[in-house]
């Protein structure tokens, strides 16, 4: 079994839930988290500000204000059988991809055992 951990945008939770259910993964756990990614301050932005005296109105301006700030994200966890991992990953990427930085990350972990609390059985 594998655990699929996906960090996604807050406004993509509902479409992700729907797409996962249609793909045959109805069970999931979602948490509210804060995070930051790899986006670093670009030195050329500071130069542009110094040269022109104001922040350029563009994604550059966004980058300078977003860096080092924690952004609210949603953290999905689903546990699936080994042969379903690819399908789950593709489903999450398909509905969450906007092509911009900040779309999120997916990590896959090995799960050694699972138990159902209700019955005590060791099945998924």
């Amino acid at each position: 079994m594998k655990e699929v951990m996906a960090f996604i945008r807050v406004n993509k939770v509902n479409v992700t839930k729907k797409a996962l259910a249609e793909a045959g993964f109805p069970s999931f756990t979602c948490r509210r988290v804060l995070g930051r990614g790899k986006k670093m301050v670009d030195a050329s932005v500071f130069q542009a500000v110094l040269d022109h005296g104001e922040l350029p109105v563009s994604h550059v301006g966004e980058a300078i204000t977003e860096v080092q700030r924690l952004i609210p994200k949603r953290f999905f966890t689903i546990v699936v059988e080994d042969d379903c991992v690819q399908k789950a990953v593709e489903t999450i990427i398909r509905v969450n991809q906007t092509g911009n930085a900040g779309d999120g990350k997916i990590f896959i972990f090995d799960i050694y055992e699972t138990y159902q609390v209700r019955t005590g059985e060791s099945t998924l």
Binding site: R36, Q68, K73, I106
Partner: protein
């Protein structure tokens, strides 16, 4: 790749995040958690507090960066010279695979 989960004091997360950023590890996820440790929580008189608020930081790094990140967290999140109970805990576990959603590419 390795996942580092660090459970630290809430008042220390700001310092840890700033230090990780300057050390070149900008990507971090933070969430509020509650828990107790080996000391069975905090006992004040006859009252036992066993859901102590902490913050959990999750960082995925390449294998060779693991020691750096762990050392930074231990150095910054420790209170006082020798540290105190409740300073937190760090867990490291292997990551089988990673994808970036915006590009769909595999890897960190």
């Amino acid at each position: 790749m390795l996942l580092i989960r660090a459970i630290v004091r809430p008042e220390k997360t700001g310092d840890v995040l700033a230090e990780l950023m300057s050390a070149g590890f900008p990507a971090v996820t933070k969430s509020d958690v509650f828990g107790r440790g080996k000391q069975k929580g905090m006992i004040a008189g006859s009252i036992q507090y066993d859901e102590i608020p902490k913050e959990m930081l999750m960082i995925v790094v390449n294998d060779e960066d693991k020691d750096d990140v762990v050392k930074i967290i231990i150095r910054v999140a420790r209170t006082g010279e020798k540290g105190n109970f409740g300073d937190g805990r760090i867990f490291v576990s292997p990551v089988a695979d990673a994808y970036t959603i915006s590009t769909g590419k595999q890897g960190l």
